[in-house]
């Protein structure tokens, strides 16, 4: 049985249809990239898998659980325990330090643990920037804090929406190296939305979307 399974997933926004009957299955520990032009439905698909949005039709199961049937607290627990998000804009809380931003994720999960947060930040190479606020960090550093925050509760699934979209080449490489390490060492299931073919090539498999449908689904040969 697939770890993540989508069947007939559609999403309508009034007259616009962002997803049209998407079928897809993703195995545990796979790294999948989703590519496509703007408006193809990549981010919508990612948000629906992560429980940040709800489909208009279809079913989604993650590790056997029907996401669409979850509501309120159950859905919040799913996000807390099973999914880590990495956003293009990182969305760090501006008045919290790097360590505190990571600890905020711990707070909603169970209990903040500064030692664990420090370890997570050290793992992403920011052990020396613990008490800096986001405004004092570069774009790449902010994204690394985002990665640490996404992993701190060991969710098992990492969903990244254009994680390198705002970064230069060097930082893009750094961030992708980190994601690869997470994938190899911790066995995370990773789904990355990107418009960059170079980023897509880091994955095991690439889905290409167009007009709300998956057009191609191919393994990446390295």
């Amino acid at each position: 049985m697939s770890f993540i399974f989508l069947q007939g997933v559609s999403k309508d926004y009034g007259t616009a249809q962002a997803l049209r009957g998407v079928d897809c299955s993703i195995g545990r520990g796979e790294w999948v990239s989703i590519m496509g032009p703007s408006g193809s439905g990549k981010s919508t698909l990612l948000n629906i898998i992560g429980g940040l949005d709800r489909p208009s039709a279809g079913t989604i199961t993650v590790d056997g659980a029907d996401i669409n049937a979850m509501k309120g607290e159950e859905l919040a627990r799913f996000r807390r325990n099973s999914v880590g998000f990495i956003f293009q804009q990182s969305h760090l809380i501006p008045y919290l330090t790097a360590a505190e931003n990571v600890m905020l994720a711990q707070y909603f999960h169970s209990l903040p643990d500064r030692a664990e947060a420090v370890e997570a930040l050290a793992k992403v190479g920011l052990g020396h920037r613990l008490d800096h606020r986001p405004s004092q960090l570069s774009g790449g550093e902010q994204q690394r804090v985002c990665i640490a925050r996404a992993m701190i509760n060991n969710p098992g699934i990492l969903l990244a929406d254009e994680p390198t979209g705002n970064l230069d080449r060097a930082n893009t490489r750094t961030v992708l190296d980190l994601i690869r390490d997470i994938h190899r060492q911790d066995g995370y299931t990773i789904i990355v939305v990107t418009h960059d073919p170079e980023v897509s090539r880091w994955a095991d498999r690439s889905l290409f979307m167009e007009d709300g449908r998956i057009v191609t689904d191919e393994p990446i040969c390295r």
């Binding site: 981010s43 919508t44 948000n47 992560g50 940040l52 949005d53 709800r54 309120g72 607290e73 919040a76 627990r77 799913f78 996000r79 807390r80 325990n81 999914v83 998000f85 956003f87 804009q89 969305h91 809380i93 501006p94 008045y95 919290l96 505190e100 600890m103 905020l104 994720a105 707070y107 909603f108 999960h109 209990l111 903040p112 925050r149 509760n153």
Partner: protein, 359 residues
Amino acid sequence: MNTWFLFFLKKSIVQRRGRFLLSSGAVMLTVTAVTALFTVSAGIRERIGLQLQQYGANMLITDATGVVISDERVRTVAALAAGVRAVSTEVYGTVRLGQSVVEVIGRDLERMTGVRMQGRLPRAEGEAMAGTRLCERLGVKLGEQMVPAGRREPIVITAIYDRGTDEDAALLMPLASARKLLGLAGVSAVLLNVDTGSMGAFERSLAAADPRLRTRKVLQIAVAEERLLARVQLLLLLVTSVVLVSSVITLGSTMGASVIERKTEIGLMASLGALPAQVWKFFITEAVAAGLAGSVVGYAAGSFAAEAIALTAFGGPVPVSVSALPLALVLGTLIAAVTAYVPVRGAMNVVPANVLRGE
């Protein structure tokens, strides 16, 4: 309360201290107005109560034609013993001191209550107490001597008093001294404390014994003041209602703007797996904190405002109302929580993906 919750809450409040102060300020305005109304209302009732007590009398007798009541007629009144518990007499008149006409009240000063005084009670002939407003008007000082127009003997001010009533503009003297000064062969009024159950019978007896005497229940005076108090309270209530409505609107706008600013933060909390109750707790607690801060300051400001209103409008202070404090705290926190509830509920209903996308 959870230490970490307080930690993140404090960080949020410090970061947005401007908005926090604005919200607290709006609550403070409302609580100030309500506290002032409550304190003035409670205090004025006490003042009326004090005045009634101070009279000790519940019936006032004067001559219908305005002439003084002779000692013989006073004895006639006192002899109508049925239900009469206490009798006292007073004289009223005016004298000219320099360019000013000054009211003189003569009564048994030893039995007088409810007066603040500096100096000693006048006892000898020619001694008097001056009210604070009279002293301000004429620049009178303790121990000063003043010669009324048409007299040779001076009046010596042995005390300056404050009753918080219109009497503060008068001279108070022992009854005998006042009668001599004003040249009165009798008294201006007879004050009685009559058993309220016997009032009707007493009035009928008096009318039969001396038809020229007119009775007036002191309650009537109180009723007139009560009517005035009711009107003043209505005015204060209307003003407070306007302040309340405008404060709630201001607070609602402030809270709404604050939540809109933070909708990305709400979406992020959702993406981190925050339970809806956890998000509510953050925002409502912030609102309640603003409400509490505004309530405490508003209570203090309202108490000061009540003193100013009472001194200006009613000529005397009112006691600080301790019972207004819990009312202030409950009102302030309730207003803050309710005005935060609507925008937070709206923000919580938005799909997290939309706000994180920047919509």
